[in-house]
Symmetry: C2
Subunit: 247 residues, 2 copies
DNA sequence: GTCAAAACAGTTGTCTGACAACCAGACATA
DNA sequence: TATGTCTGGTTGTCAGACAACTGTTTTGAC
């Protein structure tokens, strides 16, 4: 049932207060107003300055502490930590506003996914191989329907294919990192991906790229898998970046 | 001034309440007691069950929300999110209790660092190359002092060498990921690293491994850099895992 | 009986005030 | 000098209240 409502995005509600406070503090740290080792103003003082309650400030600081950006000591205060102590890898949505950052993110994705493929070539079980071939068949089926048909389905089955491959590596960290990167990209660039898929990400050449990867996995050839995966994601990134409407 | 106090470690203070509550909830999610889409008990109810104040529960939930593990809607409740929505990569200290997990983490480190090296071979500037050679010289100097002397210094300069290389890639995500992985490893395995460095991580062979990497960077040979880095970290991981006292 | 508006109960988000635990430094004391 | 004590300040936790919001139920007009 076609519905005009699909064109209306959610209005951006005022974000949660603690998130705002947290990013304000992060901002102060990134702009060097607050340097490693410096003490943050007291929670009372911050609450006064931001015009919020202390509970809000506390929640904000607890987020930063969770990421290892600040350390707090009871009875003393909260201190900006050594940046090397950051214990989390997180991709901020703001990064998707700069073309350069997106290209770098796609580079990282290429490298990590290629590493996962290489491992998978060595570690895969027969059952996993069956799943992978099955998923590849789904990609192929969607591809045969033409560029515009089953668009989302095609993109999703492609994503699933490479997630399956990462899982076949048997390395949970690779699984987590690739999934986290993919999730972030999809959340922020989904529309560009779809447009791209409708224009250039289909047809025999693209299918040949996928096949090269899967064939290497079948042959248990780690180096070939790495190369094929690298080549596939490099080309995909290149095609995406070449689009006129890409940022 | 030798001081007996050096034998006294910090006593482990009781962790913060919100952290405990958060990991209890994460536990419930990982053991499938709470499945994606399920609603968490209300904050009141959780506070009652855990025997803490609601502010503590709120702080805990805000951490999970920050990682994309739960989503909360005012007036309704907090819900376990789709695991694919997790927006962070984080290595829990608990992972260092299982040998298998550590090996996997070292695998990831190898792959990512190799990717960074390959990029660095192409993107490095002359100034960065000078810094890298300078750092390599420091490693070499520390190495010449023998296995036991300047132990920490040698390990640290090695870490610095590969951090410099990652920075020379010009890709901030590679810098962040490698640094985050390295930080976590050092925070949890520092002592093993030091013991290992005193026993096997020194001498001409190890220096040759470093030189192979740097030479590839000088030659701007991406594939050689990838291979040399991979080889260096794979061997280091192997030597570490071969130790008797390693878990 | 139908349907929309209004009231309601329940939940999260924020605010306020209080007290406990803790710390650094000043001060007193031996 | 070394040790104990006090004091003000800070973070950690608690308790209670209200605001904002949601899903459901009730009410009332037709």
């Amino acid at each position: 049932m076609p519905d005009a409502a699909q064109f209306f995005d959610r209005i951006d509600r005022p974000a949660r207060l603690p998130d705002g406070v947290a990013s304000a503090i992060i901002d102060a740290i990134e702009t060097r107003q607050l340097q490693p080792g410096d003490r943050l103003p007291t929670e009372m003082e911050l609450a006064r300055r931001f015009g919020v309650a202390r509970t809000v400030v506390r929640e904000a600081i607890s987020l930063l502490r969770y990421d290892g950006i600040v350390q707090s000591r009871r009875g003393v205060g909260a201190f900006v930590a050594d940046p090397a102590q950051k214990s989390t890898f997180r991709i901020s949505p703001a990064c998707f506003e700069k073309r350069k950052r997106i290209v770098q993110l796609l580079e990282l994705r290429t490298g990590v996914q290629a590493g996962a493929s290489a491992l998978a070539a060595e570690m895969r079980t027969e059952a996993e191989m069956r799943d992978i071939r099955q998923t590849l068949a789904e990609v192929e089926a969607a591809d045969r329907l033409g560029p515009a048909a089953a668009l989302e389905q095609r993109v999703d089955s492609e994503l699933l294919l490479y997630r399956r491959i990462a899982e076949a590596s048997g390395n949970e960290y690779y699984v987590e990192v690739t999934r986290m990167i993919e999730t972030t990209i999809q959340n922020n660039l989904r529309s560009a991906f779809l447009k791209n898929a409708a224009n250039s990400e289909f047809g025999p050449q693209i299918m040949a790229e996928h096949h090269a990867v899967v064939d290497a996995l079948i042959a248990r050839d780690a180096e070939a898998a790495r190369l094929a995966t690298r080549s596939r994601f490099e080309r995909a990134a290149h095609r995406l970046a070449a689009r006129q409407d890409f940022l």
